[in-house]
Protein backbone atom coordinates (compact mmCIF):
# COMPACT_ATOMS: atom_id res chain seq x y z
CA UNK A 1 0.00 0.00 0.00
CA UNK A 2 2.55 2.49 1.11
CA UNK A 3 5.83 1.39 -0.32
CA UNK A 4 8.97 3.29 0.23
CA UNK A 5 8.90 5.92 -2.46
CA UNK A 6 12.59 6.54 -2.44
CA UNK A 7 13.61 2.98 -3.24
CA UNK A 8 15.10 2.35 -6.65
CA UNK A 9 16.16 -0.79 -8.43
CA UNK A 10 19.58 -2.18 -7.77
CA UNK A 11 22.31 -0.93 -10.02
CA UNK A 12 25.56 -2.53 -10.89
CA UNK A 13 28.61 -1.08 -12.54
CA UNK A 14 31.83 -2.96 -13.05
CA UNK A 15 35.01 -1.01 -13.64
CA UNK A 16 38.02 -2.82 -15.04
CA UNK A 17 41.42 -1.25 -15.30
CA UNK A 18 44.15 -2.95 -17.20
CA UNK A 19 46.39 -2.74 -20.20
CA UNK A 20 46.12 -4.22 -23.66
CA UNK A 21 49.67 -5.43 -23.27
CA UNK A 22 48.73 -7.39 -20.19
CA UNK A 23 48.24 -10.96 -21.29
CA UNK A 24 45.45 -11.29 -18.75
CA UNK A 25 43.28 -8.68 -20.36
CA UNK A 26 39.91 -10.01 -21.40
CA UNK A 27 38.61 -7.22 -23.57
CA UNK A 28 38.09 -9.34 -26.64
CA UNK A 29 36.20 -12.01 -24.76
CA UNK A 30 34.13 -9.37 -23.00
CA UNK A 31 33.30 -7.72 -26.29
CA UNK A 32 32.18 -11.04 -27.70
CA UNK A 33 29.80 -11.58 -24.79
CA UNK A 34 27.39 -8.82 -25.72
CA UNK A 35 25.66 -10.30 -28.72
CA UNK A 36 23.08 -7.80 -29.83
CA UNK A 37 24.59 -4.41 -30.30
CA UNK A 38 22.41 -1.55 -31.30
CA UNK A 39 24.74 1.36 -31.28
CA UNK A 40 28.44 2.13 -31.08
CA UNK A 41 29.56 5.63 -30.39
CA UNK A 42 33.13 6.85 -30.41
CA UNK A 43 34.50 10.10 -29.06
CA UNK A 44 37.77 11.29 -30.57
CA UNK A 45 39.16 14.34 -28.78
CA UNK A 46 41.31 16.84 -30.66
CA UNK A 47 40.25 15.51 -33.98
CA UNK A 48 38.58 17.29 -36.86
CA UNK A 49 37.92 14.42 -39.16
CA UNK A 50 38.61 10.77 -38.80
CA UNK A 51 41.54 9.33 -40.66
CA UNK A 52 40.79 7.39 -43.83
CA UNK A 53 41.59 4.03 -42.27
CA UNK A 54 39.29 4.76 -39.34
CA UNK A 55 36.61 6.02 -41.68
CA UNK A 56 36.78 2.86 -43.72
CA UNK A 57 36.20 0.79 -40.58
CA UNK A 58 33.16 2.86 -39.74
CA UNK A 59 31.82 2.41 -43.21
CA UNK A 60 32.50 -1.28 -43.44
CA UNK A 61 30.26 -2.47 -40.66
CA UNK A 62 28.42 -5.57 -41.83
CA UNK A 63 25.01 -4.84 -43.20
CA UNK A 64 21.96 -6.54 -41.78
CA UNK A 65 18.61 -7.70 -43.05
CA UNK A 66 15.09 -7.08 -41.93
CA UNK A 67 12.50 -9.72 -42.75
CA UNK A 68 8.88 -8.83 -42.31
CA UNK A 69 6.50 -11.37 -40.80
CA UNK A 70 8.92 -14.25 -40.62
CA UNK A 71 7.36 -17.44 -39.28
CA UNK A 72 9.79 -18.61 -36.67
CA UNK A 73 9.83 -22.22 -37.78
CA UNK A 74 11.73 -21.04 -40.85
CA UNK A 75 14.73 -20.65 -38.58
CA UNK A 76 14.68 -24.42 -38.19
CA UNK A 77 14.73 -24.91 -41.93
CA UNK A 78 17.25 -27.55 -42.88
CA UNK A 79 18.93 -25.55 -45.61
CA UNK A 80 19.15 -22.49 -43.42
CA UNK A 81 20.77 -24.50 -40.66
CA UNK A 82 23.23 -26.00 -43.11
CA UNK A 83 24.16 -22.84 -44.91
CA UNK A 84 24.13 -20.35 -42.06
CA UNK A 85 23.91 -21.63 -38.52
CA UNK A 86 26.49 -24.40 -38.81
CA UNK A 87 28.77 -22.21 -40.93
CA UNK A 88 29.61 -19.39 -38.61
CA UNK A 89 27.66 -17.06 -36.48
CA UNK A 90 24.17 -15.79 -37.07
CA UNK A 91 22.78 -12.90 -35.10
CA UNK A 92 19.02 -12.81 -35.20
CA UNK A 93 16.61 -10.83 -33.11
CA UNK A 94 12.89 -10.30 -33.30
CA UNK A 95 12.20 -6.68 -34.07
CA UNK A 96 9.56 -4.39 -32.62
CA UNK A 97 8.66 -6.96 -30.05
CA UNK A 98 8.82 -5.64 -26.57
CA UNK A 99 10.44 -7.80 -24.04
CA UNK A 100 8.35 -8.39 -20.90
CA UNK A 101 5.28 -7.98 -23.07
CA UNK A 102 5.46 -9.78 -26.40
CA UNK A 103 6.89 -13.06 -27.51
CA UNK A 104 10.51 -12.46 -28.39
CA UNK A 105 12.95 -14.60 -30.28
CA UNK A 106 16.70 -14.46 -30.52
CA UNK A 107 19.16 -16.54 -32.45
CA UNK A 108 22.58 -16.31 -30.94
CA UNK A 109 25.90 -16.72 -32.72
CA UNK A 110 26.64 -19.94 -30.86
CA UNK A 111 23.60 -21.54 -32.46
CA UNK A 112 21.30 -21.16 -29.52
CA UNK A 113 17.69 -20.27 -30.22
CA UNK A 114 15.95 -18.55 -27.34
CA UNK A 115 12.29 -17.72 -27.09
CA UNK A 116 10.75 -15.65 -24.37
CA UNK A 117 7.07 -16.50 -24.29
CA UNK A 118 4.07 -15.52 -22.27
CA UNK A 119 2.20 -18.21 -20.40
CA UNK A 120 -0.46 -18.91 -23.01
CA UNK A 121 1.99 -19.22 -25.85
CA UNK A 122 4.23 -21.47 -23.82
CA UNK A 123 1.34 -23.79 -23.05
CA UNK A 124 0.46 -23.90 -26.72
CA UNK A 125 3.97 -24.57 -27.88
CA UNK A 126 4.48 -27.80 -25.99
CA UNK A 127 8.22 -27.62 -25.75
CA UNK A 128 10.31 -27.89 -22.64
CA UNK A 129 11.23 -24.55 -21.09
CA UNK A 130 11.73 -22.95 -17.75
CA UNK A 131 10.02 -20.12 -15.93
CA UNK A 132 11.58 -16.75 -16.49
CA UNK A 133 13.63 -15.12 -13.75
CA UNK A 134 11.59 -12.00 -13.99
CA UNK A 135 8.32 -13.49 -12.90
CA UNK A 136 6.98 -11.63 -9.98
CA UNK A 137 4.50 -13.70 -8.02
CA UNK A 138 2.64 -15.69 -10.59
CA UNK A 139 4.47 -17.61 -13.24
CA UNK A 140 3.59 -15.63 -16.32
CA UNK A 141 6.62 -15.81 -18.56
CA UNK A 142 8.69 -18.70 -19.77
CA UNK A 143 11.99 -19.03 -21.50
CA UNK A 144 12.61 -21.76 -24.02
CA UNK A 145 16.20 -22.19 -25.00
CA UNK A 146 17.56 -24.78 -27.39
CA UNK A 147 20.95 -25.39 -28.84
CA UNK A 148 20.49 -25.89 -32.56
CA UNK A 149 23.93 -27.41 -32.91
CA UNK A 150 23.08 -30.14 -30.42
CA UNK A 151 22.66 -33.66 -31.78
CA UNK A 152 19.05 -33.93 -30.59
CA UNK A 153 18.21 -30.79 -32.51
CA UNK A 154 19.70 -32.00 -35.78
CA UNK A 155 17.08 -32.05 -38.56
CA UNK A 156 14.96 -35.16 -38.15
CA UNK A 157 15.83 -35.58 -34.50
CA UNK A 158 13.11 -35.90 -31.88
CA UNK A 159 13.61 -32.52 -30.29
CA UNK A 160 13.84 -30.90 -33.68
CA UNK A 161 10.57 -32.40 -34.88
CA UNK A 162 8.79 -31.52 -31.70
CA UNK A 163 9.86 -27.89 -31.84
CA UNK A 164 9.11 -27.73 -35.55
CA UNK A 165 5.56 -29.04 -35.16
CA UNK A 166 5.13 -26.85 -32.11
CA UNK A 167 6.07 -23.74 -34.03
CA UNK A 168 4.33 -24.81 -37.22
CA UNK A 169 0.97 -26.06 -36.04
CA UNK A 170 0.42 -25.20 -32.39
CA UNK A 171 1.93 -21.78 -31.98
CA UNK A 172 2.18 -19.89 -35.22
CA UNK A 173 4.67 -17.29 -34.16
CA UNK A 174 5.39 -14.55 -36.65
CA UNK A 175 7.54 -11.52 -36.07
CA UNK A 176 9.64 -9.05 -37.92
CA UNK A 177 13.15 -10.32 -37.70
CA UNK A 178 16.59 -8.80 -37.93
CA UNK A 179 19.33 -11.02 -39.22
CA UNK A 180 22.98 -10.77 -39.94
CA UNK A 181 25.63 -13.34 -40.61
CA UNK A 182 29.27 -13.02 -39.84
CA UNK A 183 31.50 -14.43 -42.49
CA UNK A 184 28.96 -15.15 -45.18
CA UNK A 185 26.98 -11.96 -45.12
CA UNK A 186 23.86 -11.95 -47.21
CA UNK A 187 24.81 -14.81 -49.50
CA UNK A 188 24.29 -17.50 -46.91
CA UNK A 189 20.97 -16.04 -45.86
CA UNK A 190 19.69 -15.55 -49.40
CA UNK A 191 17.68 -18.77 -49.49
CA UNK A 192 15.72 -17.74 -46.44
CA UNK A 193 15.40 -14.10 -47.43
CA UNK A 194 14.07 -14.79 -50.87
CA UNK A 195 10.92 -16.39 -49.52
CA UNK A 196 9.78 -13.37 -47.55
CA UNK A 197 9.50 -9.64 -47.76
CA UNK A 198 12.95 -8.43 -46.85
CA UNK A 199 15.20 -5.43 -47.06
CA UNK A 200 18.89 -4.84 -46.58
CA UNK A 201 20.17 -2.09 -44.32
CA UNK A 202 23.56 -0.56 -43.90
CA UNK A 203 24.40 0.54 -40.38
CA UNK A 204 23.91 4.27 -40.22
CA UNK A 205 27.00 6.32 -39.49
CA UNK A 206 26.63 9.83 -38.15
CA UNK A 207 29.48 12.21 -37.43
CA UNK A 208 29.38 15.32 -35.36
CA UNK A 209 32.14 17.84 -34.90
CA UNK A 210 32.21 19.45 -31.51
CA UNK A 211 34.17 22.49 -30.60
CA UNK A 212 35.16 24.04 -27.31
CA UNK A 213 34.24 20.99 -25.35
CA UNK A 214 34.84 21.14 -21.64
CA UNK A 215 36.07 17.78 -20.52
CA UNK A 216 37.01 16.11 -17.27
CA UNK A 217 40.25 14.30 -16.64
CA UNK A 218 39.42 10.79 -17.81
CA UNK A 219 41.86 9.00 -15.55
CA UNK A 220 40.87 10.47 -12.25
CA UNK A 221 37.19 11.16 -12.70
CA UNK A 222 34.57 9.24 -10.77
CA UNK A 223 33.15 6.54 -13.07
CA UNK A 224 29.55 7.62 -12.72
CA UNK A 225 30.25 11.24 -13.53
CA UNK A 226 32.48 10.25 -16.39
CA UNK A 227 29.84 8.00 -17.88
CA UNK A 228 27.30 10.73 -17.41
CA UNK A 229 29.48 13.16 -19.25
CA UNK A 230 30.17 10.73 -22.09
CA UNK A 231 26.48 10.08 -22.43
CA UNK A 232 25.74 13.77 -22.41
CA UNK A 233 28.27 14.40 -25.15
CA UNK A 234 26.81 11.58 -27.16
CA UNK A 235 23.27 12.85 -26.69
CA UNK A 236 24.36 16.41 -27.42
CA UNK A 237 23.33 17.80 -24.07
CA UNK A 238 24.55 21.26 -23.23
CA UNK A 239 26.90 21.33 -20.27
CA UNK A 240 27.13 25.09 -19.88
CA UNK A 241 24.64 25.48 -17.10
CA UNK A 242 24.87 27.41 -13.92
CA UNK A 243 23.85 25.75 -10.70
CA UNK A 244 21.01 28.22 -10.31
CA UNK A 245 19.49 27.55 -13.72
CA UNK A 246 15.83 26.67 -13.68
CA UNK A 247 15.91 24.08 -16.40
CA UNK A 248 18.99 22.09 -15.73
CA UNK A 249 21.87 22.23 -13.33
CA UNK A 250 23.94 19.73 -15.21
CA UNK A 251 27.55 20.73 -15.59
CA UNK A 252 30.66 18.99 -16.70
CA UNK A 253 32.03 17.10 -13.73
CA UNK A 254 35.45 18.14 -12.50
CA UNK A 255 36.09 20.16 -15.61
CA UNK A 256 39.76 20.72 -16.17
CA UNK A 257 40.48 21.11 -19.86
CA UNK A 258 38.77 22.57 -22.85
CA UNK A 259 39.15 20.72 -26.10
CA UNK A 260 39.36 22.78 -29.23
CA UNK A 261 37.72 20.14 -31.38
CA UNK A 262 36.33 16.72 -30.90
CA UNK A 263 34.67 14.28 -33.20
CA UNK A 264 31.82 12.11 -32.12
CA UNK A 265 30.91 9.26 -34.43
CA UNK A 266 28.10 6.85 -33.89
CA UNK A 267 27.04 3.80 -35.82
CA UNK A 268 23.64 2.25 -35.27
CA UNK A 269 21.93 -0.86 -36.53
CA UNK A 270 22.29 -4.52 -35.76
CA UNK A 271 26.03 -4.63 -35.32
CA UNK A 272 28.34 -7.55 -34.85
CA UNK A 273 30.85 -7.91 -32.02
CA UNK A 274 33.37 -8.85 -34.68
CA UNK A 275 33.15 -5.39 -36.22
CA UNK A 276 33.54 -3.82 -32.82
CA UNK A 277 36.74 -5.80 -32.36
CA UNK A 278 38.05 -4.43 -35.63
CA UNK A 279 37.14 -0.93 -34.56
CA UNK A 280 39.01 -1.34 -31.28
CA UNK A 281 42.13 -2.51 -33.11
CA UNK A 282 41.91 0.43 -35.48
CA UNK A 283 41.45 2.89 -32.63
CA UNK A 284 44.53 1.49 -30.94
CA UNK A 285 46.53 2.15 -34.09
CA UNK A 286 45.05 5.61 -34.28
CA UNK A 287 46.17 6.32 -30.71
CA UNK A 288 49.77 5.60 -31.63
CA UNK A 289 49.93 8.78 -33.71
CA UNK A 290 52.04 11.01 -31.49
CA UNK A 291 50.49 14.42 -31.99
CA UNK A 292 47.10 13.47 -30.57
CA UNK A 293 45.25 13.90 -27.33
CA UNK A 294 45.96 10.81 -25.38
CA UNK A 295 42.64 9.07 -25.11
CA UNK A 296 39.63 7.77 -27.01
CA UNK A 297 36.32 6.49 -25.72
CA UNK A 298 34.11 3.84 -27.24
CA UNK A 299 30.62 3.14 -25.93
CA UNK A 300 28.58 0.17 -27.03
CA UNK A 301 24.85 -0.12 -26.33
CA UNK A 302 22.99 -3.39 -26.36
CA UNK A 303 19.45 -3.70 -27.64
CA UNK A 304 17.01 -2.73 -24.94
CA UNK A 305 14.58 -5.35 -26.10
CA UNK A 306 16.97 -8.19 -26.64
CA UNK A 307 16.10 -11.15 -24.53
CA UNK A 308 19.64 -12.08 -23.73
CA UNK A 309 22.04 -10.04 -21.73
CA UNK A 310 25.73 -10.65 -21.20
CA UNK A 311 26.68 -14.11 -22.32
CA UNK A 312 23.46 -16.02 -22.55
CA UNK A 313 21.74 -14.87 -19.41
CA UNK A 314 18.20 -13.68 -19.52
CA UNK A 315 17.36 -10.04 -19.93
CA UNK A 316 14.35 -8.07 -18.79
CA UNK A 317 13.91 -4.41 -19.51
CA UNK A 318 11.14 -3.16 -17.29
CA UNK A 319 13.04 -3.89 -14.12
CA UNK A 320 15.71 -1.51 -15.25
CA UNK A 321 17.84 -3.54 -17.54
CA UNK A 322 20.17 -1.87 -19.92
CA UNK A 323 23.37 -3.35 -21.13
CA UNK A 324 26.23 -1.29 -22.31
CA UNK A 325 29.92 -1.01 -21.91
CA UNK A 326 32.24 1.89 -22.27
CA UNK A 327 35.88 1.45 -23.17
CA UNK A 328 38.32 4.22 -22.48
CA UNK A 329 41.63 3.74 -24.22
CA UNK A 330 44.86 5.59 -23.62
CA UNK A 331 47.88 5.87 -25.81
CA UNK A 332 50.07 3.86 -23.43
CA UNK A 333 47.88 0.83 -24.14
CA UNK A 334 46.10 0.97 -20.83
CA UNK A 335 42.35 0.99 -20.79
CA UNK A 336 39.38 1.41 -18.49
CA UNK A 337 36.34 -0.69 -19.15
CA UNK A 338 33.03 0.14 -17.56
CA UNK A 339 30.40 -2.56 -17.85
CA UNK A 340 26.84 -2.08 -16.81
CA UNK A 341 24.15 -4.65 -16.49
CA UNK A 342 20.51 -4.99 -15.68
CA UNK A 343 19.13 -5.02 -12.22
CA UNK A 344 18.79 -8.67 -11.35
CA UNK A 345 21.78 -9.87 -13.23
CA UNK A 346 25.02 -11.11 -11.93
CA UNK A 347 28.26 -9.43 -12.81
CA UNK A 348 29.18 -9.27 -16.45
CA UNK A 349 32.18 -11.41 -17.31
Amino acid sequence: MCADLSRTPRTLLVCDRSSFLDHKNRVSSQVEQLHFIYKVSVLLPECNSASSSLDSVFNSFTSFYLIRKLPIYELLDKDFLQSAVYQGSVHGLSFRTRIDEDNCVALMPNGRLTLSLDKDSFELLGFEGKPSRFNHRSCSRFEVSVDLTDSSMAPGGRGYLRLLTGLKSHLQLQTDFLLSHHPGGGASLQALLSRYDWSEHKPKVSRRCLSNLVCPAPRSCDPHSLLEWLGAVDADVRCENSSSSFLSSFVCPEANTTLGHALSVSVSGLLLPHDVQRLIQELRCYLQQPQLESWVSLTVHGFTDSLVSWGGSEHGALIGGQDFYSLLMFHDHTYRLYLSTATCHTCPP
Binding site: F122, E123, L124, L125, G126, F127, E128, G129, H170
Partner: protein, 223 residues
Protein backbone atom coordinates in the same frame (compact mmCIF):
# COMPACT_ATOMS: atom_id res chain seq x y z
CA UNK B 1 -64.13 -86.01 19.23
CA UNK B 2 -63.44 -88.36 21.89
CA UNK B 3 -59.89 -89.60 21.87
CA UNK B 4 -60.94 -93.02 23.01
CA UNK B 5 -63.25 -93.33 20.07
CA UNK B 6 -60.39 -92.80 17.65
CA UNK B 7 -58.26 -95.38 19.23
CA UNK B 8 -61.01 -97.99 19.24
CA UNK B 9 -60.60 -101.08 17.19
CA UNK B 10 -62.24 -101.22 13.80
CA UNK B 11 -65.34 -103.44 14.05
CA UNK B 12 -64.82 -106.95 12.77
CA UNK B 13 -67.52 -106.74 10.15
CA UNK B 14 -65.79 -103.84 8.56
CA UNK B 15 -62.41 -105.52 8.60
CA UNK B 16 -63.45 -107.90 5.86
CA UNK B 17 -65.21 -105.44 3.59
CA UNK B 18 -62.50 -102.76 3.86
CA UNK B 19 -59.75 -105.29 3.54
CA UNK B 20 -57.66 -103.73 6.20
CA UNK B 21 -55.86 -105.40 8.90
CA UNK B 22 -56.62 -104.30 12.32
CA UNK B 23 -53.55 -102.99 14.05
CA UNK B 24 -52.50 -103.09 17.49
CA UNK B 25 -52.63 -99.85 19.35
CA UNK B 26 -48.86 -99.65 19.57
CA UNK B 27 -48.58 -100.13 15.84
CA UNK B 28 -51.16 -97.48 15.24
CA UNK B 29 -49.26 -95.06 17.35
CA UNK B 30 -46.11 -95.72 15.40
CA UNK B 31 -47.93 -95.19 12.14
CA UNK B 32 -49.39 -91.88 13.23
CA UNK B 33 -46.02 -90.67 14.23
CA UNK B 34 -44.49 -91.64 10.95
CA UNK B 35 -47.29 -90.04 9.02
CA UNK B 36 -46.97 -86.84 10.87
CA UNK B 37 -43.28 -86.86 10.37
CA UNK B 38 -43.75 -87.05 6.63
CA UNK B 39 -46.45 -84.55 6.25
CA UNK B 40 -44.95 -81.92 8.49
CA UNK B 41 -42.31 -80.41 6.31
CA UNK B 42 -39.65 -78.35 7.83
CA UNK B 43 -39.01 -78.03 11.41
CA UNK B 44 -37.38 -81.35 11.83
CA UNK B 45 -34.92 -79.79 14.13
CA UNK B 46 -37.59 -79.09 16.68
CA UNK B 47 -38.61 -81.72 18.97
CA UNK B 48 -41.73 -83.00 17.30
CA UNK B 49 -43.47 -84.12 20.37
CA UNK B 50 -42.86 -80.92 22.06
CA UNK B 51 -44.21 -79.05 19.12
CA UNK B 52 -47.32 -81.16 18.81
CA UNK B 53 -48.20 -80.67 22.37
CA UNK B 54 -47.83 -76.92 22.34
CA UNK B 55 -48.45 -75.56 18.92
CA UNK B 56 -50.98 -75.58 16.21
CA UNK B 57 -49.32 -76.80 13.05
CA UNK B 58 -50.62 -76.25 9.57
CA UNK B 59 -50.56 -79.31 7.52
CA UNK B 60 -49.84 -78.68 3.90
CA UNK B 61 -47.83 -76.31 1.60
CA UNK B 62 -45.42 -73.90 3.21
CA UNK B 63 -44.00 -70.99 1.23
CA UNK B 64 -40.30 -71.21 0.39
CA UNK B 65 -38.36 -68.57 2.27
CA UNK B 66 -36.97 -65.50 0.42
CA UNK B 67 -33.47 -65.76 1.71
CA UNK B 68 -32.06 -67.23 -1.44
CA UNK B 69 -33.56 -64.46 -3.58
CA UNK B 70 -31.99 -61.81 -1.38
CA UNK B 71 -28.63 -63.35 -1.74
CA UNK B 72 -28.74 -63.28 -5.50
CA UNK B 73 -29.61 -59.57 -5.64
CA UNK B 74 -26.61 -58.83 -3.51
CA UNK B 75 -24.47 -60.63 -5.97
CA UNK B 76 -25.74 -58.50 -8.85
CA UNK B 77 -24.40 -55.37 -7.17
CA UNK B 78 -20.99 -56.21 -8.45
CA UNK B 79 -17.46 -56.27 -7.24
CA UNK B 80 -15.85 -53.85 -4.93
CA UNK B 81 -12.86 -51.79 -5.90
CA UNK B 82 -10.35 -54.21 -4.58
CA UNK B 83 -11.84 -57.07 -6.48
CA UNK B 84 -11.94 -55.02 -9.64
CA UNK B 85 -8.32 -54.15 -9.27
CA UNK B 86 -7.44 -57.74 -8.64
CA UNK B 87 -9.31 -58.93 -11.67
CA UNK B 88 -7.97 -56.09 -13.83
CA UNK B 89 -11.37 -55.52 -15.29
CA UNK B 90 -10.68 -51.96 -16.37
CA UNK B 91 -7.26 -52.61 -17.71
CA UNK B 92 -6.93 -53.11 -21.38
CA UNK B 93 -4.75 -56.03 -22.20
CA UNK B 94 -1.62 -55.17 -24.15
CA UNK B 95 -2.73 -57.29 -27.08
CA UNK B 96 -5.94 -55.28 -27.28
CA UNK B 97 -4.23 -51.95 -27.30
CA UNK B 98 -4.60 -51.45 -30.98
CA UNK B 99 -5.85 -48.31 -32.60
CA UNK B 100 -7.88 -50.03 -35.31
CA UNK B 101 -9.74 -52.05 -32.70
CA UNK B 102 -11.20 -48.84 -31.37
CA UNK B 103 -12.07 -47.31 -34.73
CA UNK B 104 -15.55 -48.86 -34.74
CA UNK B 105 -16.11 -47.32 -31.32
CA UNK B 106 -15.18 -43.99 -32.78
CA UNK B 107 -17.64 -44.49 -35.64
CA UNK B 108 -20.35 -45.31 -33.13
CA UNK B 109 -19.55 -42.24 -31.13
CA UNK B 110 -19.69 -40.10 -34.25
CA UNK B 111 -23.17 -41.35 -35.04
CA UNK B 112 -24.20 -40.81 -31.46
CA UNK B 113 -23.07 -37.21 -31.47
CA UNK B 114 -24.66 -36.52 -34.84
CA UNK B 115 -27.94 -37.95 -33.53
CA UNK B 116 -27.60 -36.04 -30.30
CA UNK B 117 -27.07 -32.74 -31.99
CA UNK B 118 -29.88 -33.28 -34.44
CA UNK B 119 -28.00 -33.80 -37.64
CA UNK B 120 -25.04 -31.53 -36.97
CA UNK B 121 -25.14 -29.48 -40.13
CA UNK B 122 -22.68 -26.68 -40.72
CA UNK B 123 -25.55 -24.29 -40.15
CA UNK B 124 -26.38 -25.47 -36.67
CA UNK B 125 -25.78 -23.15 -33.80
CA UNK B 126 -22.39 -23.78 -32.19
CA UNK B 127 -23.73 -22.87 -28.79
CA UNK B 128 -26.43 -25.48 -29.09
CA UNK B 129 -23.88 -28.07 -30.09
CA UNK B 130 -21.71 -27.16 -27.16
CA UNK B 131 -24.62 -27.44 -24.77
CA UNK B 132 -25.26 -30.94 -26.04
CA UNK B 133 -21.63 -31.93 -25.99
CA UNK B 134 -21.31 -30.82 -22.41
CA UNK B 135 -23.66 -33.54 -21.33
CA UNK B 136 -22.53 -36.11 -23.85
CA UNK B 137 -20.39 -39.13 -23.35
CA UNK B 138 -16.96 -38.89 -24.86
CA UNK B 139 -15.88 -42.51 -25.04
CA UNK B 140 -14.74 -43.07 -28.57
CA UNK B 141 -14.01 -39.47 -29.43
CA UNK B 142 -10.74 -38.46 -30.98
CA UNK B 143 -9.25 -35.90 -28.64
CA UNK B 144 -6.14 -33.79 -28.89
CA UNK B 145 -4.30 -31.97 -26.14
CA UNK B 146 -4.07 -28.38 -27.33
CA UNK B 147 -2.61 -26.66 -24.32
CA UNK B 148 -1.08 -27.95 -21.17
CA UNK B 149 1.02 -26.81 -18.31
CA UNK B 150 3.22 -29.76 -18.98
CA UNK B 151 4.66 -29.27 -22.43
CA UNK B 152 5.12 -32.95 -23.20
CA UNK B 153 1.38 -33.60 -23.28
CA UNK B 154 0.74 -31.00 -25.95
CA UNK B 155 -0.07 -32.45 -29.32
CA UNK B 156 -1.04 -35.94 -28.14
CA UNK B 157 -3.97 -37.29 -30.20
CA UNK B 158 -5.97 -40.46 -29.89
CA UNK B 159 -9.27 -42.18 -29.34
CA UNK B 160 -10.66 -41.76 -25.87
CA UNK B 161 -10.93 -45.26 -24.48
CA UNK B 162 -11.74 -44.69 -20.86
CA UNK B 163 -12.70 -41.69 -18.85
CA UNK B 164 -12.14 -41.50 -15.12
CA UNK B 165 -12.68 -38.74 -12.66
CA UNK B 166 -9.26 -37.22 -13.10
CA UNK B 167 -7.76 -38.77 -16.19
CA UNK B 168 -8.49 -39.60 -19.79
CA UNK B 169 -7.06 -42.80 -21.21
CA UNK B 170 -6.49 -42.52 -24.90
CA UNK B 171 -5.03 -44.79 -27.49
CA UNK B 172 -2.81 -43.19 -30.07
CA UNK B 173 -2.22 -44.08 -33.68
CA UNK B 174 1.05 -45.68 -32.61
CA UNK B 175 -1.02 -48.16 -30.58
CA UNK B 176 0.13 -46.67 -27.33
CA UNK B 177 -2.19 -46.31 -24.38
CA UNK B 178 -1.69 -42.93 -22.74
CA UNK B 179 -3.06 -41.63 -19.50
CA UNK B 180 -3.56 -37.88 -19.49
CA UNK B 181 -4.64 -35.97 -16.42
CA UNK B 182 -7.55 -33.64 -17.02
CA UNK B 183 -6.22 -30.97 -14.77
CA UNK B 184 -4.14 -28.18 -16.33
CA UNK B 185 -4.82 -29.18 -19.92
CA UNK B 186 -7.11 -28.09 -22.70
CA UNK B 187 -8.49 -30.71 -25.06
CA UNK B 188 -9.91 -30.26 -28.53
CA UNK B 189 -12.61 -32.47 -30.04
CA UNK B 190 -13.47 -32.34 -33.69
CA UNK B 191 -16.71 -33.58 -35.23
CA UNK B 192 -17.77 -32.66 -38.74
CA UNK B 193 -15.85 -29.43 -38.73
CA UNK B 194 -16.92 -28.34 -35.28
CA UNK B 195 -13.93 -28.04 -32.99
CA UNK B 196 -14.74 -27.80 -29.32
CA UNK B 197 -12.25 -27.07 -26.61
CA UNK B 198 -12.57 -28.66 -23.23
CA UNK B 199 -10.91 -27.11 -20.23
CA UNK B 200 -9.86 -30.19 -18.36
CA UNK B 201 -9.65 -28.50 -14.99
CA UNK B 202 -13.37 -27.77 -15.14
CA UNK B 203 -14.15 -31.25 -16.35
CA UNK B 204 -12.94 -33.30 -13.43
CA UNK B 205 -15.97 -35.50 -13.05
CA UNK B 206 -16.94 -39.01 -13.97
CA UNK B 207 -18.76 -39.29 -17.27
CA UNK B 208 -21.90 -40.51 -15.54
CA UNK B 209 -21.89 -37.76 -12.96
CA UNK B 210 -21.24 -35.04 -15.47
CA UNK B 211 -24.62 -35.32 -17.12
CA UNK B 212 -26.24 -34.23 -13.89
CA UNK B 213 -23.79 -31.43 -13.16
CA UNK B 214 -24.45 -27.81 -13.91
CA UNK B 215 -21.64 -25.89 -15.52
CA UNK B 216 -21.24 -22.32 -14.54
CA UNK B 217 -20.49 -19.62 -17.03
CA UNK B 218 -17.35 -17.77 -16.19
CA UNK B 219 -15.69 -14.81 -17.81
CA UNK B 220 -12.19 -16.16 -18.08
CA UNK B 221 -10.80 -19.56 -17.52
CA UNK B 222 -7.21 -20.15 -16.73
CA UNK B 223 -5.60 -23.50 -16.88
Amino acid sequence: MDEAQIYTQIPHNLVKSLNVKPQSSSKAAAFTEAFLKNSLQKPSQYDLKDMLTHKAVILGYARPKKESAKRSSKKAKGLNARQKRKMKIFQIKPEHQRYELFLPLHELWRQYIVDLCGGLKPTSNPQFVQQKLLKADFHGAIITVVRSKCPSYVGTTGILVQEFKHVFKIITKENKLKVIPKRNSVFAIEINGFVSHIYGSKFEQRASERSAKKFKVRGTIDL
